[in-house]
Amino acid sequence: MLNKILFFAELQEKIGKESVEIDVTGKTVKQVKELMDSEHGLVKVHDAMTAINEEFATSDMVIEKDDVVAFIPPVSGG
């Protein structure tokens, strides 16, 4: 039941890795963010959007089995 969680930009630097694998199935996006904050000190995760399987997600969406979760800090491409 492990989910892949992806980090980019400053979140990636802060946590020191590109991804982690943890079980967050059944949790809401909001709950996963709180977990990142409390467990990994990732305060800035609250400024990030979240993508589930490469689609932007709202905070009340629930993570399902095998879902890939990515935190998307404010983008600055172009």
Binding site: L6, F8, A9, E10, Q12, E13, V29, K30, K33, H46, D47, A48, M49, T50, A51, E54, F56, A57, T58, S59, D60, A70, I72, P73, P74, V75, S76, G77, G78
Partner: protein, 155 residues
Amino acid sequence: MEKLFQIIEEPISIEKTVGLVSRRDAGAINTFIGTVREFTKGKRTLYLEYQAYQSMAEAKLAEIGNEIIDQWPDSKVAITHRVGRLDIEDIAVVIAISTPHRADSYEASRYAIERTKEIVPIWKKEHWEDGEEWIGNQTETKSFVSGKPEEGDMC
């Protein structure tokens, strides 16, 4: 055959990107080229580092392409964004849009770069003589929420 929407690490060929949209029934091709500027608000940039969530970024670029076809049905769009280390004057992004008539090519091209800056998961880190920083809301981009308005709060 090159992809219409892609994230690459190598220098971007403008001719190649334009070639992807050139066609017999287009009379106009507008191209937007984003380059690395040395000075931003008086601060000297040494170089930039771009990072992307590659698969999602290419999907979002393709989504922008679809949005453009919806609004300008007779257009063809290609967008290539480079990642990795970029020096001053290097090309970060090339957008090419062909349309039968020129007004549409300008409007669609402008739309494409604005949307790219809003919804495509690409980040740049500025390196200065006295520091470095990942750029986001704090400086250049607008309110993040506009990226994908949906019911409920974004996060």
